[in-house]
Symmetry: C2
DNA sequence: TTATGTGCAAAATATTTGCTTTCCG
DNA sequence: CGGAAAGCAAATATTTTGCACATAA
């Protein structure tokens, strides 16, 4: 379901009339290879090491494309910058309010909440997102 | 606890070395008088009806001041604009992905979640925020 | 009186877009 | 070859800030 090889990846894009460019692959690889939930700027910095003349616009465009394909998800935290995650399963995040680190929360997503909102508010196709924030161990120990 | 009269409001600000200006009061009144969770622009538009030459900068500055005093809270949704709420109790929100309306969710906040994250992740002073999103009745009926 | 706040405009931040050139398929 | 994508820069959108003047206490 999550294509790994170049071949499968290429096909996955082709089905949607899109190409697998080198830039696109690098950006996806970066996200798949980290758990740090990087921002667009961070992805850009990382991509630049492999493609020195890559542009920030290309990074943003590809992040949006990958999001559109459901290959990555965008995390919108209180902070003004979006962060991206190649783990598209429904899981929660904690953000440290001091160092701005974002980590996955190992907590089973609270089941049935979406359904409750659909029932009591009359909404449809409801999803939800939970963001925890606090001070991480490194920050409060140091 | 939530000062209403001019007198008490004035004192509440004074304690923090702040003044109760007309602009500040109008902005707070606007937020206290609506359940629509307006954005800064919306507050600005509303304030302008009462203070024709009020500036957007003043609105932003006061929203931040009021937030700092804990008199209002800022809601950061996936969308790129912040919205503001004079109801500072811990409650959840739903946003309609079609018309962008934001409503309170009548659901008791899931207790104990913050504590669980503190225990299993080692964080401190954890709070959380839940945002539901879906299609509101008006949008899917129409 | 005087420090805090306002209005205005310019700056800062984050992201998107137009256009020409490049390159995937 | 033809259309999708890249690179670059200019444009947007939202929020913040510097400064001279006004005002609450």
């Amino acid at each position: 379901m999550k294509p790994k090889g170049f071949q499968e990846l290429q096909e996955a894009f082709k089905d949607q009339g899109m190409r697998l460019t080198y830039q696109r692959k690098v950006i996806l690889d970066i996200l798949r290879g980290t758990k740090s939930h990087p921002s667009a700027e961070m992805v850009y910095a990382s991509a630049k090491r492999r493609i020195p003349n890559v542009s920030l616009g290309t990074v943003y465009r590809n992040l949006n494309v990958l999001k559109g394909c459901g290959m990555i998800q965008e995390l919108d935290f209180g902070s003004s910058v979006s962060r991206y995650d190649a783990n598209t399963s429904h899981h929660y995040h904690v953000r440290c309010i001091r160092c701005d680190k974002v980590e996955d929360v190992d907590l089973s997503t609270v089941a049935g909440l979406d359904r409750q909102v659909e029932d009591c508010m009359g909404y449809r196709a409801v999803t939800h997102r939970v963001e925890f924030q606090g001070v991480c161990p490194e920050c409060w120990k140091g």
